[in-house]
Amino acid sequence: MQPFVLSRPKTLAEAAELASASPQDSALRAGGIDLIDRMKEGLEAPARLVELRWLGEADREVLRALGPGDERVQIGALVTLAQLAAHEGFGEAHAALREAAGSAATPTIRNAATLGGNLLQRPRCWYFRHADLVCLKKGGTACLAVAGENKFHAILGGGPSFIVHPSTLACALTALDAQVEIRGPSPRTLPIAELFVTPKQDSKREHALQPGEVLVRAILPKPGPEQRSGYAAVKEKQSHDWPLAEAAVRMSLRSGAMTDVRVALGHVAPIPWRSREAEAVLEGKPPSEALFAEAAKAALGGAKPLRDNAYKIPLAQGLLREVLHRVAGVPLPE
C-alpha cells in the first residue's frame, strides 16, 4: 500500500469538496472495508482519503440516522451492517434488510462496514481484483471472464462485462423499493434502481455518483400494514463468503392473495436484478408451492449462462422458491 494523506473534514460540504477531485487524487472513506482492500491489492492508490466518520454533529446525525422519520424509514450512509442486522424497529415488513445485513461478511466486518460503502463497493470479480490483469473495467478491451473462469459471474443482464453486483444490501433495498439521497453540486433523490449503472451503459462503473457527490442515506417507503419481506443467500462457504445467488422478496398478503410483490435477485447480474417476470406470475394470486416454482422459473427464464455458471439457474430458482415459501408462510416441502 502506498502512503496517503488522511483528511477529517468537519462538514459534509467540505468532504464533498475534498473528494471532488479525480479518483486517483482522493477517495471518501467510511468503514474503509473495500477501499483499503483495493489499496492493499494495488488496484488504487488515492493520494488523499477523506474520512466521513469524523464529521461535525449536524452532518453526522444525518449520516448515522436509523429509524422512522416522518412515516418512512431513513438509513444514514454511515449506519453499519451490524446496526441494521440488530435494528429492532424492523418488523416483518423490513425483515429482508435485517436478514441481508446480518448475512454479509463476518461480525468484525459488519461492525465497520456501512450502508454507503456496501452500496458503492467495487465488484469482487477475480479479474478485476487481480493487480496484473487489465480487464474491461480497468480499460482493457474484453471482459476476461468470458473466455476465462466464470463460475461466479453473471447469468442475467451480462455483457459486455459479466461481473455480479457485490452489494448484499442492494438486493434487499431493491425488493423494498428504496430511494437514495445524494448530496453534492446537484442534490437529488433517486429510486435505487437508478443508482446502479449497467455495463451496457458504462462498463467501467457500477453506480451513477460523480466525484464530489456523497450518498447520504437510503429511504424506505412507508409499509402497508400487511407488508412482509425476506432475504436469503446461497454460499459455497457458510462463514464469510460472497453469495452464489441471493433472493429478496417483498409482498403484502391481503385476503389470501399476494399484492405489491417485489422480487429481487442478487449476485446473478451486474446490477441488483429485479424480476418483473416473477412478480407478474405472483401478483394478485394466492400463494402456493406450484405458483412459487412457476415464478422461480420465470425469474430465470432470460438467463444466458457462460461456460461454468449454468448451475446458477437451478440454484437461484431453488433459493427464490425457499424465500417465497418463508415470506408467504407456506411450509417448505420436506
Binding site: 473466455a147 463460475k151 457458510q238 437451478p314 431453488g318
Partner: protein, 780 residues
Amino acid sequence: MPDDQRVTLKVGFAEQLRDIEVQLPAGEPKPWDARSELKVVGKPHPRVEAPLKVSGAAKYTHDIVPPNALWAAVLRSPHPCAVVESIDVAPAQSQPGVSAVLALVKPGERVIFAGQDIAAVAAKTPEQAEAALRAIAVGYKTEPFVVDTAAAMQDGAPLVHRGKVTERSTEGDEPGAGGSAGQRGNIRTSPSMKKGDAHKGLRMAKVSHEATYTTQVHTHSALETHSIVVQWDGPKAATVWCSTQGIFSVRDEFAEVFELKPADVHVHTDFLGGGFGAKFGASAPGSRMGFIAGELARQAGAPVRLLLDRKEEHLCTGNRPDSRQHVKLGASVDGKLTAIHVVAHGSAGIGTGAGVGRNAFGIYSRCPNVLVESHDVFTHAGPGTAMRAPGHPQGAFALELAIDELAKKLKLDPLDLRLSHDEHPVRRHQFELGRKQFGWDAGRKQAAALRDKQARVRRGFGVAASIWGDFGRGKAVVATVSVLRDGSVEVKNGLQDIGGGITTVVAQVVAEVLQRPVEAVRVRLGDSELGPSVGSGGSVTTASVTPAVRAAAEGVKTQLTALAAKQLGRKPEEVTWSEGQARAGSKSIAWAELCKKIEGEAVVATGTRPETYGAYPVKFMGGNSYQIAGVQFAEVRVDTWTGVVAVERVLAVHDCGKVMNPLTARSQVQGGVILGTSYALTEQRVMDRVRGVMLNPNLETYKIAGARDVPRSIDVVFTPVDTGANNTGAIGIGEPSTIPTAAAIACAVHDALGVAVRDLPLTPDRVLAALGAVPTRGAG
C-alpha cells in the same frame, strides 16, 4: 551398561492382547506396554505454552526484529512461461531506503510459473521495498504455457521441463514413496504398485464399476506464512530464525548455499504458526528464500527479514497436487473384490509427487489383484509439495467412493463390503465400533427413506478408512535431561513444536519418569544448538522424540538412584521411587533434599532412540513398521434445491499407539478432520487457463472452512494399541487423521443423493449437476 536384553511385552488392542518377546539394545529402558501403569503420560494435560500463545508473548518468526533489520521483498514473474530477455536492477538501488538489490534470473533464462523469483531488494520499510521492486525493469519474451492438467497431458502441449526432472526429497515425503519410471511430454510415470493380475481380475468379475474421479489443487495456507530472518555473525557464521518444520534442514541448506559449516549456522524456531509439509529447508518449494535473505543481509551488512505475504504463500510455497483417477473395480456376484485398478494422473505444477496409490494398494488387502499406476503431470504452475499425508486424501476419495458405488451395484452395505476385504484387526475393530457409536444402520435407513421420497433436504452417511505407517525414526534424536541442585528439571532438544503439542508431551514423559509435576519440567526446544532432532513430517515427531527423552530421563534417574542409595546407605537396586521420593527399606529422602546432594551443578544424561523394534499386529506395506489404522464416519445434510452440503457429524476412530496426551491428540485429530472437511467442501486453487495465473491467491476466494463450515460435531475415539515399537509406545497421528475425511463426506453425499459427486470440492454447482438440475452448458 547392560548388554542387549530380551524382554516380554504385552501388546495388542482392546481384548486382543498377547505377550511378545522383543530384543532391546543395550541401555534401552523397557518399553511401556499394556501392563504399564502410567500416572502422567496418557492423561489429558493442557498445553504448557498456551498462556504464551494466547497472550501474544510467544514470538514467532514474523515477530523477530533484530536491531537495524531490513525488510526484503521479491519481484515475481507475472508470466507462466517466458524467457527473460533483459533485467536491470540498478534503478532499484537508488530508491529511498534501499540497501541491497539482487537479480535472481539472468537474460536467457526461462521462467516456468507465474510467481517465480525474478529479483529482490532489502529496504528500511516494507513500502520502500515494494516501491523499489517497481523500479526494476525486466524484459520478457512470453512463450506458450499450459496450466490445465488434462490439457498438459495432450500430445503437443507446451513442455514445462525441457529435460529430465529429478526429485528433491524432504522429510515431509512419505518414506518409500516416489521414484520415476520414465518421462514423456509433461507426463512422468512413477513406479507401479502391483499385486496379482488386475487385468485378469477385471475380466473375471461378474459385477464391475468404472469411473473417473478428480480432486483439486489444495494449497497449504498455514496461518504463519513462510518467513526467514537472517543475521550474519561475521563472514562465516549466521543466526537464522525460520518458520520451519525442520530446524536442521534449514541449518544444512543455509550452510550449503553459503558454504558454511553447519555448526556455524544457528537456527531458531521458538514457535511455529503451522506447517503441513511445505516448510522444510531454508527455502520455500518455489522460492529461494534462504539464499535471498542471506545474500541481501550479506550485501546490506544488516539483518534481513523476508516474510512472504498471503499471495506469495499461495503462488510459490507448494501445494497438494490435483488428481484425475480412473478407477476400475471388479467383484463376484456375492461381493468379493476380484480387482482394483487405478490409473492416476496429477499435477504438482512444476514439481513432482502426485502419486496417490497407497490407499488403493494397502487397505482392502483381501482383494487378490491390485494395480495402481501413478503419473505426475507437469503444468506451468507453482510446485506441489508433500502435504499432510501426501497422496492419501486424494487416493482415499477415489477409492472409497468407487467402493461405495460398487456396493450399490452389489446391493451390499458399503461398510460390510469394506469389512469383508480389510485384514487389519484394529481397523476392523474400529469399523465395528464406529458402526454402533455412529448409528450407522439406522442412519443409512433414514437416508434411504428420504431418497426414496425425493425429499428436498436429504441425509447421508458415509465411511472411509485411513492407512499410514509408524515412521518413527531411530538414531536421529539426542535429548538431554538435567536435574539441577535446586531440584529443577530441564529437558532440551533441537526440535520445533509444529503446534501439535510435543512440548507438553515431552514434559509429561520426563514428569512420568522422575515423578515430578509436569509444570516443574522446563522444556527447551526450537534451537539447533540443543541437540539433534527430527523434522516434523511423516507423523514421526512424537514417536521419534519421546523415546529419546525417556531414555535421557531414565539415565538421570539412574544417577539419582545411585546418589540416593549413597545417602540412604543402601545399594542402588534396593532403592525404589514413589511420589517423588527415593526409598530404601524404611528410609527415604525427599526430592529437594536429594538434589542438594548433587555434586557440581547438575545431573545430566542424554538419550537416543534405537530403530523401531516392534510392529504388532500388522506391518505397513514394504516395511518393518506398524501400519496405523483409522476410520471416519460422516453424516451430511444436502439441500437439493440449492446444492449446499453441510457436514453434520464426523466420528473419527483412530489408533495412535499409546496416546501420550488425549487432549492434544484429540485436538490434532479434530484439526485433521477440519482440514479434510475444508478440502472436501470448498478449498480449490483456481488457475486462469487463458493467462496462466492463479485467480484466488488470497483467503477470500480461496475458501478455507470457517466456524459455520466445520462439522457440527467431531467425536474422536482412540483405540489404543501397544505395538512394541519403541519405549514410550507412541506412534503418529497427524497425517492419518486427515486421510479419510473427504472420502467419508463424499460417500455420505452419495448416500444422500443416490448418485456420486465424483469431483472435489463438493460445491453446489456439482451437486446440482449430479442431480441433473443444471441445463445444457452455455456457449462460453
